[in-house]
Amino acid sequence: MLNFMENVKSLPVAEWISDFVDLLTDTFSFLFDPIKDGLGNFMDMVTQGLDAIPPVIFILVIAILAFFMTGKKFGLAIFSIVGLLFIWNQELWSELMDTFTLVLTASILCVIIGIPIGILMSKSKIAEAIITPILDFMQTMPAFVYLIPAVAFFSIGVVPGIFASLIFATPPTVRFTNLGIRQVSDELVEAADAFGSTGPQKLFKVELPMAKYTIMAGINQTVMLALSMVVIASMIGAPGLGREVLSSLQRAQVGPGFVAGLSIVVLAIIIDRFTQNVYKDKSK
């Protein structure tokens, strides 16, 4: 009696999903192919552009930006110089540029997709009820799982890496945008309404400016998550520092693995401090 499950056939969920993904691949290949080509070309261009900048100048620009963004403090500027010189010294510069392009593109796409969805969520209880579980799903599903359909859609390379990063890294932007807008004080929303603002006026003149810092915290999280995907994305052929880590792993080379890993950490810290400072509330 307790083993009644033995007599029940297991549901062919795996087959269903495979069939569904196959169906998507076949039906939407007209859509996926141009995305793949377009995005691939765009990223090649960005990488080439970045590679064309001499590392010395790149490092200097970053250091100067860091100096001014942190309110004329030397800490981040010095860290940027030392860290980037280290990466250059280890001959990982072009890998760094690859990774930087990947993170940058993925983050921008996340923000472009995430903020409107977050706004939608904040405006509609129904949208919030539908989207919240989807976000939970996106964040908890192991990243390796959606590498498989990513490859099916976009074959191997940097584009499926972006796709995987998008799924993994968009939720914080969506959630924080929603949270930020919902946190705007009732009285300010009432004031906007009482003076006869239209919906878009209220959104752009009151809600988004008020939610700015919360949304920026979400974007910061998104960028960090996108960065954390670089190693995983390298498993499906995305170039960059992640690939160095992966190949070191496959060959059991402790030293090179650590060097590449350390480079990722340096990049992570610089990007994190930068995004934190872009929209820091200067009046506080």
Binding site: E187, L188, E190, A191, D193, F195, K205, V206, K212, S283
Partner: protein
């Protein structure tokens, strides 16, 4: 025609609105309705009219529905039933576009916690109402500046709200509301977040501004002193119902029920009552007709030791004491002007009871209450004390 006309306006929070409204109509209390239907009656069939240029105060304790009521008027909260007419247009039945137009042109609101946009400068805050209307940059800056100057903040245009004190912030709130020159100002507990001294200043300033602006103001407060001070008429609310509407005097003197009575019990009457309300009809003699003999006779009849003297136009001339009149009769003086004391303690009819104390304390004779020099009445010490004690001797309609 009244500017604001509210007819049977109700708001029920919750799902079972119909049942709750029916119960409310049958006279059940808020608690009973909540128990039976799970819905809360925010405002129950409120009806009132506000005339142009009037300051109409809606007053009640927290939870009485006053803040809900003001939000029903500009439809920040959707009414369940009822009508709100602003200059004849029914806000409650408008589509969104129309509503937006009325909000932009006719209604402005001042908020309890100011509701200023912290990311905008003072000028940009004051400009907001004009900005959403699409008024061009120069014109709106000009109008906003003018209204900021009106509230005395012309020098703070580029500051941010966070840099200003509470009282100044609320001036910005007021300036923002005035900038688009609305018919109606809705002020939701506008001064309640300010400390008492600043609050009094703001009340004075609002009254001063009102002298020149003549807006129609709907003022929400939980502070009866404030209501009595600035209101032309007051509506008292309890549990979503309007319990009484009347002038401050009517509410004080003839409370509609025990709730209102309890409310006004603690009022500082000294600040509410005026000389006009506690004065008595004076005994007088006419300087043009009468002599010392008549004066003595009148004093004897009324049991007075002095009598006020007026001319034929009832303009106050002075006072004559019994001693002086006696002396005059003995010396065969017939003209009153020879024995009259011209120095008489005089107060205007609008003087607050509060300000009478010092005058009446030093005076051996009653106070004369005048208007444009004409004698209206007199106040004796006993009347002041009686009025303070809340005795019914006060003549409201005098």
């Amino acid at each position: 025609m009244p500017i604001i006309q509210v007819n049977n306006l109700s708001k029920v929070f919750g799902k079972n609105t119909k049942a709750a409204l029916q119960l409310a109509e049958s006279g059940k209390t808020k608690e009973e309705i909540l128990k039976e239907t799970g819905s809360t009656v925010g405002v129950n069939r409120a009806s009132f009219e506000v005339e142009a240029g009037e300051i109409f105060v809606i007053m009640g304790l927290s939870g009485s529905g006053k803040s809900t009521l003001v939000r029903l008027i500009n439809r920040l909260i959707e009414p369940t039933t009822g009508d709100v007419f602003i200059e004849g247009e029914n806000l409650a039945k408008m589509d969104k576009k129309e509503l937006r137009r009325v909000r932009r042109e006719k209604l402005s609101m001042v908020f309890q916690r100011f509701g200023l946009f912290p990311n905008r400068t003072i000028l940009q805050n004051a400009e907001y109402g004009l900005e959403v209307q699409g008024v061009d940059k120069q014109e709106r800056a000009e109008k906003a500046k003018k209204s900021l100057e009106l509230v005395g903040l012309g020098g703070y245009l580029e500051q941010y709200p966070g840099q200003l004190s509470g009282g100044m912030q609320q001036r910005v709130g007021l300036a923002r509301a005035l900038a688009n020159d609305p018919e109606v100002l809705l002020m939701d507990e506008a001064f309640s977040a300010l400390d008492p001294l600043i609050r009094k200043d703001m009340q004075d300033e609002l009254l001063d501004l009102q002298e020149s602006m003549k807006k129609t103001i709907l003022f929400i407060t939980h502070d009866l002193d404030e209501a009595l001070r600035i209101g032309d008429r007051i509506a008292l609310m309890k549990d979503g119902n309007i319990v009484q509407i009347g002038t401050p005097e009517e509410i004080l003197m003839n409370p509609a029920n025990s709730y209102v009575e309890k409310f006004v019990e603690d009022v500082d009457r000294a600040k509410v009552l005026t000389a006009h309300q506690i004065m008595k009809r004076p005994e007088t003699i006419n300087i043009d007709k009468h002599g010392p003999r008549v004066a003595l006779e009148r004093m004897r009849e009324a049991g007075l030791s002095s009598i006020f003297v007026v001319d034929s136009k009832r303009t106050l001339q002075g006072i004559i004491t019994a001693d002086a009149a006696n002396e005059a009769r003995k010396n065969e003086v017939t003209n009153l002007s020879e024995i009259i004391q011209r120095e008489v303690p005089t107060v205007e009819k609008d003087t607050q009871l509060h300000d009478l104390f010092a005058v009446i304390h030093d005076s051996p004779v009653p106070l004369a209450v005048t208007e444009n020099g004409k004698l209206l009445g007199i106040i004796v010490r006993g009347a002041v004390i009686g009025a303070l004690a809340g005795e019914g001797e006060v003549n409201v309609n005098a």
